[in-house]
Each structure stands twice: as structure tokens, then as C-alpha cells.
């Protein structure tokens, strides 16, 4: 308990100090609970998510950093490795490939990388995975693009 709190506090300070270090990620800790964080990440360029801002919710376990944090998308996103309804993410470093040397910041970076490189072979969103696996990149991109516009971009007017 103490260890996770201390470590999260260090991460918090680091985030405060380097607020501008990574312009794509904005990591915020819940005011009253250091185990709850939210992040805003920018969709990577040259992907259908470009221009969108996606909100992630972190729930950090007490055994952190020995155990990985739980992360899910709050913003709707059409991506093979993200559950369309719950926002749950299928990413190895959040499961068995977790290392305690990772930080919340680096998890965000890994998620951005996942958005740019979807793994169609272990899909949580089968429709999206099937589009990619059958080679229909255009179909996948237009669906992803549409949901980015609908859910991740500020509404015009």
C-alpha cells in the first residue's frame, strides 16, 4: 500500500514537472484518490484516429507497480484491440508482459503505439479485426475515422 502510494506520488510529481515534455499525453490524477487517473491522448497522425482526443481511465491496484494498472477507453473508439462497448484494451504489457519499470506515462505511450499498429489477430472488436484480416483496410479506416469524428472530436457549432 505504502509502496504503491509513494511510487504514484513520484509519478505525479514527474508529470507535474514535465507537463510539456510529451504534448500528446495529458495525465491527470483524481483530486481525492491517487489510485484513479485519467489521461487524454491524441490520436497518432497518419491514422484514422488523427485529430481525435481520446480519454483513458486508469485504475491502479494496491500492488502497483508489481501488478499492472487497469486501463480502458472512456471515449468510443473503433479498433481491433479495444472492446467497442466497455473500452477494455487488449495489450500484452497490461497483462502478462507487464514490467514494474513501466509507468502510467509509458503505458499511455504504448497505447498510442497500439492505435497506430492494431493487432488484428487478437481482436476484442471482431468486426474491426475481420475488416483488417480480410484486407479491407479502406473499410476499417473509414469506420475508425467515422467514430473518431463522432466521439473524439469537438463538435462543430
Amino acid at each position: 500500500m505504502q509502496a504503491s502510494r509513494a511510487r504514484l506520488f513520484k509519478e505525479y510529481k514527474e508529470v507535474q514537472r514535465e507537463k510539456t515534455a510529451d504534448p500528446d499525453i495529458q495525465l491527470v490524477c483524481d483530486d481525492s484518490n491517487i489510485f484513479k487517473w485519467t489521461a487524454l491522448v491524441k490520436g497518432p497522425s497518419e491514422t484514422p484516429y488523427d485529430g481525435g482526443v481520446f480519454q483513458l481511465a486508469f485504475s491502479v491496484p494496491e500492488q502497483y507497480p508489481l501488478q499492472p494498472p487497469q486501463v480502458r477507453f472512456l471515449t468510443k473508439i473503433f479498433h481491433p484491440n479495444v472492446h467497442f462497448k466497455t473500452g477494455e484494451i487488449c495489450l500484452d504489457i497490461l497483462k502478462n508482459a507487464w514490467s514494474p519499470a513501466w509507468t502510467l506515462q509509458s503505458v499511455c505511450r504504448a497505447i498510442i503505439a497500439l492505435m497506430a499498429h492494431p493487432e488484428a489477430d487478437s481482436p476484442l472488436n471482431c468486426d474491426s479485426g475481420n475488416l483488417l484480416r480480410s484486407g479491407d483496410t479502406r473499410g476499417y479506416q473509414s469506420m475508425a475515422r467515422m467514430y473518431t469524428r463522432l466521439a473524439a472530436m469537438p463538435k462543430k457549432g
Binding site: A3, R7, K10, P65, L66, Q67, I93, A97, S99, P100
Partner: protein, 539 residues
């Protein structure tokens, strides 16, 4: 030879009691075994030996040896070869860098000098330390507390393979975290869990070792690869086939067992349902389910018949209430009946075996002591009962599987079928005699209060009974050995000269026939040229 020696050494403690019971005439039972039973202690010993072999030959640390053995599935020779072929590559693959001063335990718990100028940040808790621990990479420092947490989490949550192959916590680093760090930093409970995983990996990844498949048994078996008899009897008294891990199934082979099991599963599910709810159309043989109340059936093929008597509709009219003996059995029904015949016998011999196995265990655990006390006879003199039970268990098992053999014996090969049935029948009869004698007659002799074996006359009766059981055990064993041998070579005797062998069982009814004579003791039919019985003859 060396290995045999070890084997007997290992078991000298456990078997002392039993060995006293072994009757002289039964010593030949212990043939040269082609397997060893390994208990917890033996497995530890083997792991230890393999590690020290590698570390002596390659002069590397225990950590490196262990990582090497794991990498090459515990094959000592392979590990040596690979190492000599390309040490650098192998080092890289197992994450054991640092080639210099290999001989000093180059492990990884290095305490940095206590000077203040050497303060480093731990990569997990980000606190500052001047006392940190490295894996073999020497690049990524972590504090002791975080190492403990990392190791504990890997042992408890990440599964055996991850903790046995633990790498530096830095995600980009491949450096191995050796056993020595784990042993130093893990809690007692986690340590024993770690070693459990390690020994399990030894048994499971080694080609020549397997766990005993029976529930609750913790023994492993080391098998001499290349030997042809797969039958293994574990210390838990259960026997299994090394190759397919099913119960011992001599004389039939593993493929046939798999086929038989498959058929059983298919049949039991299907036939039960079919039998209960369907009948076959007498004309086209398709299964029909009756889903309406009246007996007038119209099959898809157009044939109309009476559900009760199978005759064409209209013919039976009011006659099918009369009982008539069945004359014709349809082909498929015959097939099912044939299968059922073998299956039922296979099943009941299996059950009988299980019962006998329980009886044997009980006898070993308590029965013998009780008998010895009740009858004031020393336990050594009662060892023959154990021998007999062991024989019964084995024979029931063989008999069970001969029924699967029978099922797969082609019906066209009449000579073979006859010969097989003759051998099986003889063996079965012998076994029934022995089983009856040990199960029932034993009561008369040893469980009744009238007998007092301190008295000389009564003791003689007991001695007679004893030699009868020993004799029967031996005869039964001979019968079964012959049966197994004959079936294992595919009943070739009959194909070579069919007439001669089939004549034997045919003429068995007439003892007056001067070609054959029947043994009084075991009822075996001997040819005239022999003067002593060929079945129960002394070796």
C-alpha cells in the same frame, strides 16, 4: 547396471518390510525393470546431479547451469554441445552476460560501495539508494525491497515459466535473474513454490520422465527410452502405460486402446439413446424415432410397418400381441450385440480389477497384520496372499484388454478366433479358480475361530492351503503369460499350421484320447510326449 544399483539403494528403506515377505518361489517375479519410480527426494537429487555435472564440465556458476538446463530441456549433453559450439550465442539466449571471472559467483547481488557519490535511483520505486541489486546485465539498478516484490509477484502471479525464466525488470533488458538471487530474496513460502516449479519442469520437460497419471500420486517415473515394454507399475500400486498414459493394456497396443475408448464413448452415448427411442426400418435399416401414438409407421423409404412386430402394416392385424421367439436379427443389431458382448466383459473385468486392487491395498495396509495376529502366524508366512492378489490384479487387467482384442479380431479369421477364445477361456478359468480361492477359501482357513495354528495338525492344513494358493498363483501366471505372448505376436501359431493347433481344444473333451492327457492339478491338456504337466511344471 549402475542405475539399477541406485534404484535398489533408493528403495532399500521402503521395501525392507516387503522383501521379507517374498516367498522364495516367487523371486522370479522381480524381473529386470526398465523404469524407476522417482519420489520427491530422488527428483531433487537428480536435479542437483545434473546441475553439478554442467557446472563442473563447463566451469560455470550454478545459475548458468540451471538456465542452460532449462533452455535445453534438461538434456545435459545437448547443453554441453551448444555451449562449446557457440558460447556467446548461448549466453545471449539464456540472458547470462558477463563472460569474465565466471568462476567467481558472478551473480548479481552486488552491493555498491557505500560512498555517497554512488547514489542511484531504483527503477521501480524511483527512490534513491546507494545499496542496489543488479541482474546479470549490471545496467538496471533496483532496490532490495522492489526486487523482493518483483520476485514474489513473479512466483505467485505469473506462472511457472515466467518465474523460472525470470528476466531483469527493465522491459528492454533480457538479463536472466538467476536462482541465487531468487533464493536470497524470496520468502520461505515462495522459495518452496519456486523449487516445486523447478522440479515439475524437470519431470515435464525431460523426455525420459513423466508423472504418474493417477490422482493423488506424487511419484514420477523415469523410463529407459527404447525399451519395448511400456508397462509401468507405480508405487501407488497403479499400473499405467508409459506411452499413452492409459492403464496398462497388454496385450493390445496403444492405438487399439484409443480406438476402443473412442468407440465406447461414441457407443455409450449413442446406443443408449438409439436403443431407448429408436428402431430400425426393417427395409432400409434407417433409424426411426416414434413421435406419434399409433403403431402404424411409415418410413421415409415408403415402407409401412407395425412398430411392435416389424411386419408389413396390415399383416399382423391382431397377431402381434402373441409372443414369438425372434428368428432374424438384423445386421446392425448383431453388430451392436457383438460389441455389447465384448464391452460388458471388458467392463466387468475392469471393475473386478479395481475391486481386487482395493483388496490388495487393504491387505497390504492392514489385512495382513490382522490375519497374522488373529491366527498367531508370522507375517512372513502370509506373504503369499499379497503375491496372489497382485497376480489377480494383473490378470484381471490383461483379461479386460483381451476383450478389446477380441472385438477387433476379424471374424473371418476363424482359426485365430477359436484359438484366441480357447486361450482366453483357459486363462479365465484359471483366474477364476485363483480369485475364488483367495477371496472365499481364505475366509475358511484364516478367518474362522476353530483353527488354532499353534496346533500341529491345523498348521498342516494351513500349509496345504498355502501351497495350493502358491501353486494356483503360479499356474495362473503361466496361463496369462502364454496368452499375452500369443496375442502380442498376433496369434501367428495358428496361421502357420492351422490344423494342428485347433485340434487341441476340439479334442479336449475326451480324456481317453491317447494324444492328450489332462493335468489333475490345473486341468491343462498335455500332449502325450510330456510326462509332467507343461503348465504347472516346476521351472
Amino acid at each position: 547396471m549402475d542405475s539399477d544399483h541406485e534404484f535398489y539403494d533408493m528403495y532399500s528403506d521402503d521395501e525392507e518390510e516387503d522383501s521379507n515377505n517374498v516367498d522364495e518361489s516367487n523371486i522370479d517375479i522381480d524381473k529386470q525393470k526398465n523404469y524407476k519410480i522417482l519420489k520427491d527426494f530422488d527428483i531433487r537429487q537428480l536435479v542437483k546431479e545434473d546441475i553439478s555435472k554442467i557446472s563442473t564440465i563447463l566451469s560455470v556458476s550454478r545459475d548458468v547451469s540451471l538456465a542452460l538446463l532449462r533452455r535445453y530441456n534438461w538434456k545435459v549433453d545437448r547443453a554441453n554441445e551448444e555451449w562449446f559450439a557457440n558460447e556467446q550465442e548461448v549466453r545471449k539466449s539464456i540472458g547470462m552476460f558477463l563472460c569474465d571471472n565466471d568462476n567467481n559467483n558472478y551473480v548479481s547481488v552486488s552491493k555498491k560501495s557505500k560512498n555517497n557519490d554512488n547514489i542511484v535511483n531504483c527503477g521501480i520505486c524511483f527512490e534513491e539508494y546507494n545499496d542496489v541489486v543488479y541482474a546479470t546485465c549490471r545496467k538496471h539498478p533496483f532496490c532490495k525491497l522492489c526486487w523482493e516484490g518483483y520476485i514474489g509477484a513473479s512466483i505467485n502471479y505469473s506462472g511457472p515459466n515466467k518465474c523460472l525464466d525470470l528476466r531483469c525488470p527493465d522491459p528492454s533488458c533480457e538479463a536472466m535473474v538467476g536462482e541465487s538471487i531468487i533464493v536470497e530474496l524470496a520468502s520461505e513460502r515462495d522459495k518452496s513454490k519456486y523449487y516445486d516449479y523447478l522440479f515439475r519442469s524437470y519431470i515435464e520437460e525431460n523426455k525420459k520422465t513423466k508423472w504418474c497419471p493417477y490422482p493423488g500420486c506424487e511419484c514420477a517415473v523415469e523410463f529407459e527410452i527404447g525399451s519395448d515394454d511400456y508397462s509401468v507399475i507405480c508405487d501407488c500400486s497403479n499400473g499405467f502405460c508409459w506411452n499413452c498414459l492409459e492403464e496398462i493394456h497388454r496385450p493390445i497396443n496403444c492405438d487399439m486402446v484409443a480406438k476402443w475408448k473412442y468407440v465406447n464413448e461414441e457407443e455409450s452415448a449413442n446406443t443408449n439413446w438409439f436403443r431407448a427411442f429408436t428402431k430400425k426400418c426393417p427395409k432400409c435399416d434407417k433409424s426411426i424415432e416414434k413421435n406419434m401414438g399409433c403403431m402404424h409407421m411409415t418410413c421415409r423409404c415408403g415402407y409401412q410397418f407395425c412398430w411392435l412386430c416389424f411386419k408389413q402394416w396390415g399383416v399382423c392385424a391382431s397377431r402381434c400381441n402373441r409372443y414369438e421367439e425372434k428368428k432374424e436379427v438384423t445386421k446392425s443389431k448383431e453388430k451392436i450385440e457383438r460389441y455389447t458382448h465384448y464391452y460388458e466383459r471388458w467392463l466387468s473385468n475392469g471393475k473386478s480389477k479395481d475391486k481386487a486392487l482395493n483388496d490388495l491395498k487393504e491387505m497390504k495396509e492392514e489385512g495382513l497384520k490382522k490375519l497374522s495376529n488373529d491366527n498367531s502366524l508370522p507375517e512372513e508366512e502370509l506373504g503369499f496372499i499379497i503375491e496372489a492378489w497382485e497376480q489377480i490384479v494383473e490378470c484381471r487387467r490383461v483379461l479386460k484388454w483381451t476383450y478389446a482384442y477380441g472385438f477387433y479380431l476379424p471374424k473371418e479369421e476363424e482359426a485365430k478366433t477359436q484359438f484366441f477364445e480357447y486361450l482366453q477361456g483357459e486363462a479365465e478359468a484359471g483366474l477364476e479358480r485363483l480369485h475364488h480361492c483367495v477371496e472365499k477359501d481364505l475366509m475358511k482357513h484364516l478367518r474362522s475361530d476353530e483353527m488354532d495354528y499353534t496346533d500341529k495338525g491345523s498348521y498342516k492344513k494351513f500349509a496345504n492351503f498355502r501351497s495350493r494358493v502358491i501353486g494356483l498363483t503360479k499356474i495362473t501366471r503361466n496361463y496369462f503369460e502364454k496368452l499375452v505372448m500369443a496375442l502380442e505376436n498376433g496369434l501367428q501359431d495358428v496361421t502357420n499350421n492351422p490344423t494342428k493347433k485347433i485340434e487341441q481344444p476340439m479334442s479336449s473333451n475326451s480324456t481317453s484320447n491317447n494324444i492328450m492327457w489332462m493335468c489333475d492339478r490345473c486341468t491343462f491338456l498335455n500332449e502325450d510326449i510330456h510326462t509332467v504337466c507343461q503348465m504347472c511344471i516346476e521351472d
